[in-house]
């Protein structure tokens, strides 16, 4: 008799992902869904999709979903959570969505200690619109709108979201992880689980930034994109827990 050793997690629908080969979004969706399942939250979760490559997240997460305007997911999640304090509310956002157009929303949701969980995917560019510069684009990185590479004179410096948000008292748990190998996938899942547990315990705002590769817009093979991420993103965006409030400890 054959034995099932891996299956779809219940908090993901049967809809096949539309993501490009090698893109990190699929793995991060899966990890988020597994955590929702393992913590038994599926029937009380409301997810908020953002605008970016993950805009169709409402097709994939098998929970009640809203699709928010570009950058506004933390405000939408706040509206949901304030009406339904018992619900589990999460947003899923890219780096353009969260760190450019939605900067005010994320900073103030964290500042208020809004009891929501944010899954934040940093792929150092605007994937959905074809690979333009994001606030997280590295110095020297070539994008569609930094054709000669980002320069500090012309485009300023990349923003480190975890470091910024971890200065806020309302933030209870802030971590940065990656998913480029099995060990890091496991670490990411642990961080996501912790972030949801922080919410369930009512301890405050939680966010996990996951470094993601974007082979299509980086114009690299999936393998090379992993190499590029390790060599270029890791030095500027170190992994780790940036804020673990006393209550969370």
């Amino acid at each position: 008799m054959s034995k099932v050793i891996a299956s779809r997690t219940a908090a993901l629908t049967e809809t096949p992902f539309h993501y490009c080969p090698g893109c990190a979004h699929g793995i991060i969706h899966r990890l988020t869904a597994e955590v929702i399942d393992e913590l038994g939250l599926q029937e009380k979760t409301v997810g908020v999709a953002s605008v970016g490559c993950s805009v169709f997240a409402y097709d994939y997460f098998n929970v009640d979903m809203l699709q928010a305007a570009h950058g506004r997911a933390p405000a939408v999640a706040t509206g949901v959570k304030r009406v339904l304090p018992e619900a589990t509310v999460f947003t899923y956002q890219g780096d353009g969505d969260l760190a450019a157009i939605g900067t005010a929303e994320i900073v103030h949701a964290a500042g208020r200690g809004e009891k929501i969980t944010v899954i934040f995917v940093n792929n150092a560019n605007y994937g959905m619109t074809g690979g333009q510069q994001a606030p997280t684009t590295l110095l020297g990185q070539v994008t569609k709108t930094t054709p000669n590479g980002r320069t500090s004179e012309a485009n300023g410096y990349p923003i480190r979201v975890c470091e910024l948000l971890s200065t806020l008292t309302g933030a209870a748990y802030i971590a940065r992880t990656a998913v480029f190998d099995p060990a890091h996938v496991t670490q990411t899942k642990k961080a996501i689980r912790k972030a949801f547990e922080v919410q369930e315990k009512g301890l405050g705002f939680s966010l996990v930034e996951v470094l993601g590769n974007c082979p299509t817009n980086w114009h690299l093979s999936p393998g090379d994109s992993v190499k590029w991420l390790k060599e270029n993103m890791l030095p500027y965006y170190p992994l780790g827990e940036f804020k673990v409030s006393e209550e969370v400890e």
């Binding site: 599926q42 029937e43 009380k44 979760t45 409301v46 908020v48 999709a49 805009v55 169709f56 409402y58 098998n62 929970v63 009640d64 979903m65 809203l66 699709q67 928010a68 305007a69 506004r72 405000a75 939408v76 999640a77 706040t78 509206g79 949901v80 959570k81 304030r82 009406v83 339904l84 619900a87 589990t88 005010a104 929303e105 900073v107 103030h108």
Partner: protein, 352 residues
């Protein structure tokens, strides 16, 4: 219930609570700040939530989230703040979420001033955001109507699953009058579409993205059918002394109070004047406007703007009679005498 002496903004805020609304998200701006100030005290007393957002952009998106759970929710702002909410309002309409929006209008454009104005009429009735959609827009002209129309706004929002705006202004917001709250509040309908956590039912999705043009067209047609039903069923207009009126003054909101004084003075001087006051400015009460002007030789539309409603009046009257516009801009309030002068200009004496 006993009559209470209240400021318009406070009456509106209390009416929202009376209508069963327990959630408010907003940002301070004059001349509407009495609404959040009042609610920051009142909502916690009734188990509700008052939250001051970081901007009007965030406020409207918090409203989007709260409305998505099926709760009665509202926000209030004044002109520049409403402009900031534009994108969010479009999403709310696209997702068919019921909520109430209040614009206590001030002088514009730009930062303008904090004097009363009606310059956002076009924005409210025709251009509140991108895409083919409409708000239902109610224009009160007394403190009592600030309360009554707010309660009605919540019912309409639920009935049509559409945002409804109360289009007020600085005069109505800040003046005091006696107000009475109706005893009967209809129960809000069931909201099986709400996102509350999919327990014991299929999951719900609130979304305005429809990649296939045919699908998005079908969504649009559904919205349009809803607006057609609202046009059919919800138009309201107050016609005063219009039965035999030869000159009809059309005005909405606070400006209609001034116009009414001018009409009464004209009558006392033997001029057959009447007042037509649209209460729903979207849908626009075309039939009632035509009825008001059935015996009229001319119509004067007085507004605290460059002349915006005048085009809706002309359409309602199919340009059958001359329609004149008398507008005051920048927060300047017309006086009854100025309107009376306009009436007199048009009055042609028999045999002359």
């Amino acid at each position: 219930m006993a009559k209470l002496l209240m400021e318009g903004n406070q009456a509106l805020a209390e009416a929202a609570i009376h209508a069963g609304c327990r959630y408010f998200f907003g940002y301070p701006i004059t001349p509407q700040s009495e609404i959040p100030e009042y609610l920051s005290r009142r909502l916690p007393q009734v188990g509700g939530v008052y939250l001051q957002a970081e901007s009007e952009v965030s406020a409207i998106n918090m409203v989007f989230g709260a409305a998505g759970t099926g709760a009665r929710v509202f926000t209030a702002s004044s002109s520049p703040g409403i402009s900031l909410m534009s994108e969010g309002i479009s999403y709310i309409a696209a997702c068919e979420l019921p909520c109430v929006l209040v614009n206590v209008q001030r002088g514009g454009p730009g930062l303008g001033n904090i004097a009363p104005s009606q310059a956002d009429y076009n924005q409210a009735t025709k251009g509140i955001g991108h895409g083919d959609f409409h708000l239902l827009v109610l224009a009160p002209n007394s403190v009592q109507e600030m309360a009554d129309l707010t309660i009605w706004a919540f019912d309409l929002a639920d009935k049509y699953r559409n945002p409804v705006m109360v289009l007020s202004d600085g005069i109505l917001g800040q003046m005091m009058e006696p107000v009475e709250f109706s005893e009967e509040i209809p129960e809000p309908p069931e909201k099986p579409w709400a996102v509350t956590g999919a327990s014991g039912r299929k999951r719900n999705i609130i979304n305005s993205l429809h990649i296939a043009p045919e699908v998005l067209e079908a969504r649009n047609l559904k919205l349009q059918a809803k607006y057609a039903a609202a046009k059919e069923n919800e138009c309201r207009c107050e016609n005063y002394l219009t039965e035999d009126a030869e000159l009809v003054v059309a005005a909405f909101g606070s400006c209609a109070r001034i116009a009414k004084a001018a009409v009464e003075e004209a009558r006392s001087q033997g001029i057959k004047a009447g007042l037509c006051r649209p209460i729903t400015v979207w849908p626009f009460p075309e039939a009632a406007v035509a009825e008001a002007c059935k015996n009229a030789r001319a119509c004067i539309v007085t507004e605290m703007n460059e002349g915006q409603m005048v085009y809706d009046i002309r359409l309602a009257l199919k340009d059958r009679i001359p329609v004149h516009s008398f507008g005051k801009m920048g927060g300047v309030i017309p006086t009854p005498n100025q309107i009376l002068d306009e009436i007199k200009k048009l009055e042609v004496k028999p045999g002359v």
